[in-house]
């Protein structure tokens, strides 16, 4: 204690005194030591004066009427936030999805104005996940005799089984309105746990696969909430993929982007109903 009190006060300690960022007994100790250091006292006095002047600088701005362009920008921003909150409450799409799709998904003009490429690029959807989804598609979609482990005839069992293995109640989307019927599904290994693959087929024999599973727990909780659709054309088969509350989905099939997007929308809507 004695050796401490003879050490000159550090700059950090002086700043903490000036800025009121130390209180109670600790503050009293610092003040006692300050009383013994005239040089430090002078500096503290200067800094306190600086601080008072800075606190007074442009104070009048605080009472000015806010210019209307700023009011309008703030209102617009609040509206977007409120819409996003509403979507969240409805269990609907996260803002990211809406922003990413931009066109054709919603007719709400605010969303259309805010189509954002930066959102897409920032969201860390695992490319490994999509790669595995495509491998699974290219391996099983051409399979003639055993495309699935459990067929659509045993759909209740299939869903129950895969839900249990993936640790989440799964829903199989119904794509018959789009001309695709469920073939069945299978369990697969993935880099961060079990994966399920559902296969669909239309009258022409075109097969789609929906690959899903838990993503690795991200460090930041906000990442798990973020959802964005991404389109991936690299490789043999194109995919749309997205993340919803920590669960990844990839819909793959040999289709044009628009057609695959419509199917992805249908899948998304049904899963989140």
């Amino acid at each position: 204690m004695d050796s401490r009190s003879t050490r000159p006060l550090s700059d950090d300690e002086l700043h903490a005194l000036v800025d009121g960022q130390v209180s109670g007994a600790a503050r009293s100790v610092l003040e006692e030591r300050l009383a013994l250091e005239p040089d430090a006292q002078a500096r503290v006095a200067q800094w306190q004066q600086q601080k008072r002047r800075l606190q007074g600088l442009h104070r009048a701005v605080l009472d000015e009427a806010v210019p209307s362009p700023l009011l309008e920008a703030a209102r617009q921003t609040s509206r977007v936030r409120q819409s996003a909150d509403r979507w969240w409450r409805m269990g609907g799409m996260a803002a990211g999805v809406v922003l990413s799709f931009g066109m054709g998904w919603l007719t709400h003009t605010h969303w259309q104005d805010r189509q954002s490429g930066t959102l897409l690029s920032r969201i860390p959807v695992s490319s490994e996940f999509v790669r595995q989804a495509r491998y699974a598609h290219t391996v099983y979609a051409p399979e003639v005799r055993h495309p699935v482990e459990v067929t659509a005839a045993e759909q209740t069992h299939l869903v129950h089984w895969l839900s249990k293995r993936l640790g989440r109640t799964l829903k199989v989307p119904n794509l018959s309105a789009q001309g695709y019927e469920l073939v069945g599904g299978r369990l697969l290994p993935g880099d961060t746990g079990a994966r399920a693959q559902f296969m669909f087929q239309n009258g022409a024999g075109t097969r789609l696969t929906l690959y899903l599973g838990a993503m690795q727990a991200p460090a930041q909780s906000e990442v798990t909430k973020e959802t964005a659709f991404r389109f991936e054309t690299d490789g043999a088969v194109p995919s749309f993929y997205w993340v919803e509350q920590g669960f990844g989905y990839a819909l793959s099939g040999p289709l044009q982007r628009d057609a695959l997007m419509q199917l992805a929308q249908a899948v998304y809507q049904q899963i989140n109903q």
């Binding site: 950090d12 442009h58 920008a73």
Partner: protein, 176 residues
């Protein structure tokens, strides 16, 4: 979120931006950009957390990265908008002169020192909050604060005649 929460933040943002840029128009541009950026980044703000600190973070990132704004300020010449300060004449002439002087000295600080000094002094943020807003370690915040206060004191103490308004402007490249 209540829209009034956001509206309530605007005066504080405008004032801070004014002190940061030293220019009325640049400041309001910066606030506008901040609100627009917030609009597209809302999913990064979590309900219940400090809205003010988040908006200051958005503003800080914009200010620190927007080279074009700096360029515009250079093109318009004087970084200090004297006319904008004149209306603050609620007090005697001395106050205005002091405010202009203080603003000019502030603008001679490197941007990162000015930011820390203003967040601590004008905005009364804790050092931890400043670290969060500027995305810097606490130690960096403290050393910038030290340098800013020492430098500002030198500038304020220097005879007015030796304080030229021109200061070393960073060399900028326009990125297209």
């Amino acid at each position: 979120m209540d829209p009034s929460d956001l509206l309530a933040q605007i005066p504080g943002l405008r004032r801070y931006a004014r002190a940061l840029t030293g220019n009325t128009w640049a400041a309001d541009d910066l606030v506008q950009d901040t609100l627009e950026r917030a609009c597209s980044k809302w999913q990064l703000w979590t309900v219940g957390t400090d809205l003010r600190a988040w908006l200051f973070t958005v503003m800080h990132n914009l200010y620190a990265s927007d080279m074009r704004r700096t360029l515009r300020r250079q093109q318009t010449g004087a970084p200090v908008d004297v006319d904008a300060l004149a209306h603050e004449l609620a007090a005697p002439n001395d106050t205005t002169a002091l405010a202009i002087d203080l603003q000019r000295c502030l603008l001679q600080l490197p941007e990162e020192q000015r930011t820390v000094l203003l967040l601590v002094s004008m905005e009364d943020m804790s050092y931890e909050q400043v670290a969060q807003v500027t995305g810097s370690p606490l130690g960096t915040v403290m050393s910038r604060l030290s340098r800013a206060r020492a430098r500002l004191q030198q500038l304020l103490d220097a005879p007015a005649s030796t304080q030229g308004i021109p200061f070393a402007a960073p060399v900028l490249r326009r990125l297209k």
